[in-house]
Structures are given as C-alpha cells and as structure tokens.
C-alpha cells in the first residue's frame, strides 16, 4: 500500500494553518457569567451539569424507549411541556418544595426501568407530566433569584427535549436481550443512587 497523498502542498499548508490554531485551544474559561453567552445557554448548561435534573429525565427517556416509539414520542413532548409549565409556576411562586424529593424520582423511575415495567401509555404520560412539573418547579424557583427567568427556562426545556429525543430513540429500536438488560442495569444504578440519596436526605442530623 502506498502512503502517497495527492493533495497539493500549498493546500496542506493552508488547511493546517487554519485548523491548527482552531484545534489547539487554551483552557476554556467558559463560565457563562464572564462569557455572556446568555440565559438560554445558561439554562442548557444548567441542565447538562445538574445530575438532579439530568438523571431522572434520562431515566424517563430510557423507560419510554423500552416501551417503544409511541411512549418515546409521548415523553418527548409531554416532559418538556410540563417542565416549562412547572418552571413558569416556580418563577412565580419563589420556593416551596424540598429538593430531597428528587431522590424519590430516582428510585421510582430507575426501579421501573430496572423492572422493565410494562406501563400503559397513560402511565408514561403521567410520569412525564409529574416529573416535568416537579423538576421544572424546582428549576423555576432556583432561577428566579439570579434573574435567568423565562429564557433560562427555555434553555433547560430545549436540553430536556434533546436528551429525551436522543435517549428514547436510541433505546426504542433495541431488540437484543443483552442490550435491553444493559438499559435495565442503568435503571438499577439510578434507583440505587436514589436510595442512597434518600438515606443522605433523612439521616440523623441531616
């Protein structure tokens, strides 16, 4: 096999000169307050960097994906819509619910994924609505103070939509037994994390 590449040398130099600096970044000082990327991106990254929001949404997407395309589609639209509604309520209400309740969503949704529970469509809808309302409300109350407001909430909702779309569409076509078991193991891990969180939340002196 010959290693010859028929690209003209000057093109190689131009491409290397362009790509090199672009792909050799220094440390990304990317805190959003300083970069000014705006509240929408703050919301997007808040969701991506907050396991309390990310993990239950992922669990719901896995659950819907295990049950098939119809459940996935339902979760895809109900969860972000409920998240937005809950967030708007939270923005208006300024506080109220205990974040410790998040651990219950870990246990419930993770346990259902682990059990590969054969839920009817309305149950998936209800779970998506409840999770969206609850976590959205918590986000809304938390975002009211720094003034991220509705734009930040829209960023979160966009991230929720993207996550559910990716995860549910990845899981829904899985047919091999081992592949579905891998998803169930992920659910059992989520439930296990939730159980430990419950212990942390209600331990003596907490």
């Amino acid at each position: 096999m010959s290693g010859r590449v028929s690209l003209k040398p000057w093109r190689q130099i131009v491409i290397a000169g362009g790509l090199g600096p672009a792909l050799w970044p220094s440390g990304a000082e990317a805190h959003l307050v300083t970069t000014g990327l705006g509240p929408v991106y703050d919301g997007l990254l808040h969701f991506a960097l907050t396991p309390e929001d990310l993990v239950p949404a992922l669990a719901l997407a896995l659950l819907a994906g295990l049950r098939g395309a119809a459940h996935g589609r339902r979760a895809l639209f109900v969860l972000p819509a409920a998240w937005l509604l809950g967030g708007l309520l939270g923005l208006a209400a300024h506080g109220g619910m205990s974040p410790a309740l998040t651990s219950i969503s870990f246990v419930l949704l993770g346990g259902l994924v682990a059990a590969d529970a054969r839920l009817p469509l309305y149950a998936t809808t209800m779970l998506a609505a409840l999770l969206g309302l609850f976590n959205g409300y918590l986000n809304g109350t938390a975002m009211a103070q720094p003034g991220l407001g509705t734009l930040g909430l829209l960023g979160i909702v966009a991230a929720v939509f993207t996550l559910v779309a990716l995860a549910a569409s990845f899981v829904a076509p899985l047919r091999a037994a081992w592949a579905r078991v891998v998803v169930r193991v992920a659910g059992s891990w989520i439930a296990a994390i939730g159980l430990l969180l419950l212990g942390w939340a209600f331990r003596p002196g907490a």
């Binding site: 096999m1 010959s2 290693g3 010859r4 590449v5 028929s6 690209l7 491409i15 290397a16 790509l19 090199g20 792909l23 050799w24 970044p25 220094s26 440390g27 990304a28 000082e29 990317a30 805190h31 990254l45 960097l49 396991p51 309390e52 993990v55 346990g111 682990a114 037994a177 081992w178 078991v181 169930r184 193991v185 659910g187 059992s188 891990w189 439930a191 296990a192 994390i193 939730g194 159980l195 430990l196 969180l197 419950l198 212990g199 942390w200 939340a201 209600f202 331990r203 003596p204």
Partner: protein
C-alpha cells in the same frame, strides 16, 4: 493498493483533527472541585477494600457461571439491594455483624463458584441480596461527611457495577472447557480470602 486521491487526503486530515482533539488541555469551566472530589471519592470507595472488591467480583463470576437469566438478574438486583443496605446504614439503623457478614459473603460466594453450585434462581437472588445488604450497610456507614451526596453515590454505584462487570467478563471463560478450572480456582481463592477476613472480623 494505491492509496491516493481526495479521499485519502480527507482521511489523513481526519486523523490530524483527531490527534489535535485528543491533545486539548483541560477546560476549567465550572470549577466545582468539591463535587469532582465527591464523585472520585465515591468511585474509589468500593475498590478501597479488598473484601468488597472480591465479593463484588465473585457475584459477577457466579452470575456468569449460572448463565442467563441469573447472569443479567444479579447485576440488576444487586445495586438496588446494596443501596437499600446503604440507606439503612445512613439512617442509623444498626446491623450486627456487618464485617462477619461481608466475610461470610466471600466464603459462600467463593464456594458457590468453586463447586459450580446451581441453586434455583430465586435462592441465588435472595442469597446475593442478603449479602448486598451487608455490603451496602458497611458502605453506608462509611460515607464521608461534607461531600456531595448525589455525586458520591453516583461514583459509588458506578464503581460497584463496574466490579460486577469485571466479574462477569472474567467469568465468561466458563464457556470454554479450558476456562472452567481456572474459574473454580478463582472461587477457591475468594473463599480462602473470606476465611481470612472472617478471622479478622471475629478475633
């Protein structure tokens, strides 16, 4: 084979791009060092004690030996039961003889692997579940204060699951005739180690 043309050039540049991407420095965005430490502490906790490591691997070895559905059921059930034990520990509910229970789990799981014990599925799950409670309770009472509970727990559960995966991966040598004897020998080693830890727990 002549390797020339625009496609070859494109492939070369893809390699160059990948090399650059693999060489990026750390992004110092959202520096939450305590949270990173919590995750790493949780990740390291299950592998910090040889008794836990061997018992978790033994669960995987036995699951692989038993085959489906135990192969899949044990890794699904164990983390939840173990976390239940951890929750009990965090809530301050005492469980007598935790260390002896952990050592007993090593002995019995090691013997099960050595003897290729094949109990009914429900018996195997219940047995492993009981051991999981002991391990979880021990971890639960050892969780360090001042750490992010969620990230610590996440690292802790992931490390436990990975230990199971290691056990299952190694245990799959059971499929080949040459692999059955080493697997049984590994079970014997775990059982002997369990006797040692039992001696330490009692004396």
């Amino acid at each position: 084979m002549n390797y020339t043309g625009p496609r070859a050039a494109a492939e070369m540049w893809v390699l160059v791009v990948l090399a650059f991407l693999a060489w990026v420095p750390a992004a110092h965005a959202h520096i939450l060092q305590r949270e990173a430490a919590s995750f790493l502490t949780g990740l390291g906790h299950p592998i910090s004690g040889l008794d836990h490591v061997l018992a978790m691997i033994a669960v995987g070895l036995w699951g692989a030996q038993l085959g489906a559905p135990a192969l899949w059921l044990l890794p699904v059930a164990f983390p939840m039961v173990m976390a239940l034990g951890g929750m009990v520990g965090l809530l301050g509910m005492p469980l007598p003889g935790v260390e002896a229970g952990i050592a007993a789990s090593m002995i019995l799981l090691g013997l099960a692997v050595t003897s290729e014990l094949r109990p009914p599925l429900a018996t195997a799950v219940v047995l492993v579940g009981i051991f999981g409670v002991f391990h979880g309770h021990s971890h639960g009472t050892e969780l360090p204060p001042g750490q992010s509970a969620l990230l610590y727990s996440t690292g802790f559960v992931i490390a436990t699951g990975c230990l199971h995966a290691v056990g299952i991966g190694v245990g799959l040598i059971h499929r080949w005739p040459w692999g059955q004897r080493p697997l049984r020998a590994a079970g014997a080693v775990i059982a002997v180690a369990g006797v040692f830890f039992m001696w330490r727990a009692i004396v």
